[in-house]
Symmetry: C2
């Protein structure tokens, strides 16, 4: 592996372990495993899931659905409030692929009225507390209105309720994540119990990596849609969801400058490579990445006094303790665990494995 410039290095072994763990959990709980492919956005990585009997996937856009449909995925949920401007593109894919869309407002249905060419399963997006999109799970009147709009479209089939407990990311302990998830499961089951007489096949779909990773409680749930778990990152590690060794992506960046008076090492690797997402460090400052140092034969995770503290467009500034600073030289390649692997992957648009294989993204 010859690193010349900022490179996103993928640990395939760790990826496969992460997939296997989640696939086993899904089997154990009789859940359909419908992984979210927006994290990796790669046909090749998508294929790794097939060895774990995955046949259903989640994506976040019509374009991404088109991309994965081109590799033979036959059942794709676009887990994003449907963008009515893409109805023509949707009709093209849904001619040959089973597509499931998500809606949270009758207006969306109204805008695609008479434009839907092929049958679609429709999930109603509900919010169990994250409050980004979706109808509040307690708003039965809004849900009824939307069900009414769906029932009037002959090409639409109400499939069930879908939720994303994004507020699991706003927690500070595993107990809190369990709590967010438990609450979500209760709320969804309340909906299921209420509507199941009218819709005997209605399903419940949940999907955030923190909840799916640590919980063993999936009563009444039919499907899980985690995405980030395949790579994990500092966000997950910070939440207590994964160990550092479970993080399957690392940026490798050349050192281009050293600033002795500030104990700062500057790397070629900035906001266009990492994204500007960060977690909060123990000192209260933004942490964009944690540092792995090669000390002879051994790779060592440095404590959070040493971290990627600032990003310009192409520069990354790493603050180090005095002792570590003296071990780093211009020309060294530094390994960095990114704060948010999905966004870093989206910036980098490609991977290289430890064996030097290039993996392309959409």
């Amino acid at each position: 592996m010859n690193i010349v410039r900022p490179t996103l290095v993928l640990n395939k072994t760790a990826c496969l372990q992460n997939i296997e763990l989640m696939a086993e959990k899904a089997k154990r709980h009789k859940l359909r495993f419908r992984p979210h492919f927006k994290t990796h956005q790669s046909i090749e990585i998508g294929r790794w899931f097939r060895n774990y009997d995955v046949e259903h996937i989640t994506v976040s856009s019509v374009q991404m659905a088109t991309y994965f449909a081109s590799d033979g995925w036959q059942d794709i949920t676009i887990a994003f409030p449907f963008n009515t401007h893409e109805i023509n593109d949707l009709n093209k894919i849904s001619a040959n692929t089973k597509i499931n869309i998500v809606v949270d407002n009758p207006k969306t249905i109204e805008l695609i009225h008479n434009k839907i060419q092929h049958p679609l399963d429709v999930y109603i997006k509900v919010s169990t507390g994250y409050n980004r999109v979706g109808i509040a799970s307690s708003s039965y009147s809004q849900i009824e209105k939307l069900l009414g709009a769906i029932s009037e479209e002959p090409k639409l089939n109400f499939k069930g309720f879908i939720s994303h407990a994004g507020h699991a990311y706003e927690t500070t302990s595993r107990n809190e994540i369990q709590n967010v998830h438990f609450d979500a499961v209760l709320k969804l089951n309340r909906l299921k119990n209420y509507f199941i007489r009218r819709y005997p096949n209605l399903e419940l779909s949940v999907g955030d990596t923190p909840s799916c990773s640590i919980s063993e409680y999936f009563k009444g749930i039919d499907e899980i849609r985690p995405g980030n778990f395949i790579f994990n990152d500092l966000v997950q590690n910070n939440l207590g969801v994964c160990n550092i060794d479970d993080i399957a992506v690392r940026m490798h960046c050349p050192v281009i400058s050293k600033q002795q008076d500030r104990n700062e090492v500057i790397i070629y690797g900035g906001a266009v490579h990492f994204s500007k997402d960060h977690i909060q460090n123990i000192d209260g400052k933004a942490l964009y990445g944690r540092i792995i140092l090669n000390t002879g034969d051994e790779k060592k995770l440095l404590n959070p006094k040493n971290y990627l503290i600032r990003l310009s467009q192409e520069h990354g500034i790493i603050r180090l303790t005095n002792k570590i600073f003296n071990k780093v030289e211009i020309g060294d390649i530094i390994e960095i665990i990114p704060a948010h692997s999905c966004l870093t992957a989206s910036c980098m648009r490609g991977y290289i494995t430890h064996k030097g294989e290039h993996i392309e993204m959409m």
Copy 2:
């Protein structure tokens, strides 16, 4: 212009005006105008500069230099501490193109010793107070050491001092920007006066959009390298550097959900489109973009009570006042001025003009 999904729309007229203004200022002050092309990263947009007699350009990477050299640019400064791992790629371009590199440490020279195949001009990067990379402009001993290392390489020619007053972005008024710039010019002139006897052709190169846009003081300076000015953005507007009408890029994003109880409109357009860069809003919160609303025939910039307040990977959450909220519908296309145009362009990797022409990026 048919907007279907998040699209970066370029106002070519505003771009050309921005270029013309800066080109005229450079002529007025007898400065070489060497615009930074990392902002637009587009061969086509680069060509617009040729009408303003621009022959010298700045880029931030060897790859970007290669890209623009392929379109005939013959004098390119890579304004980034040279990444020694790319010496082979550099040798390829410098065979046919005049390339100027930037260094701030003798170690860089040591690492490319005997590997430089074609003559290169070298700028010493100095810091006038930004303290990201570069030798502090007062550290004569460090500069002497680096000059010594450069002089021992027959293929390297010391060209002058280069600085970037990035701390102009940390100011809160035009006066403060003037101050940062004036201080930088003084410090650079001190260096010039000291070294000019030994290096009679030595040049001074400065380059940040705030200083270059508002200052008329360039004593002793030979070259300016602003980049962002071609698009401008909310960062510049917030600093008092440009008017809203001088901002040449806008995101156009479809509305995909409305949340009445929170007066929030959700757009298709998230961190993978805007980047996570933001400015601080008047309420102290992060502002990722300001909103332009079509009210019949007129386009109106909404006050900052209405703004892009949160970004997930693909979702953008716009908080609106009650009155405005009721005017927006699912399916509408909303225009948003991004916080940081360079990073938004880098995420979007392409433009569309008002005439519907597609403009590609590297």
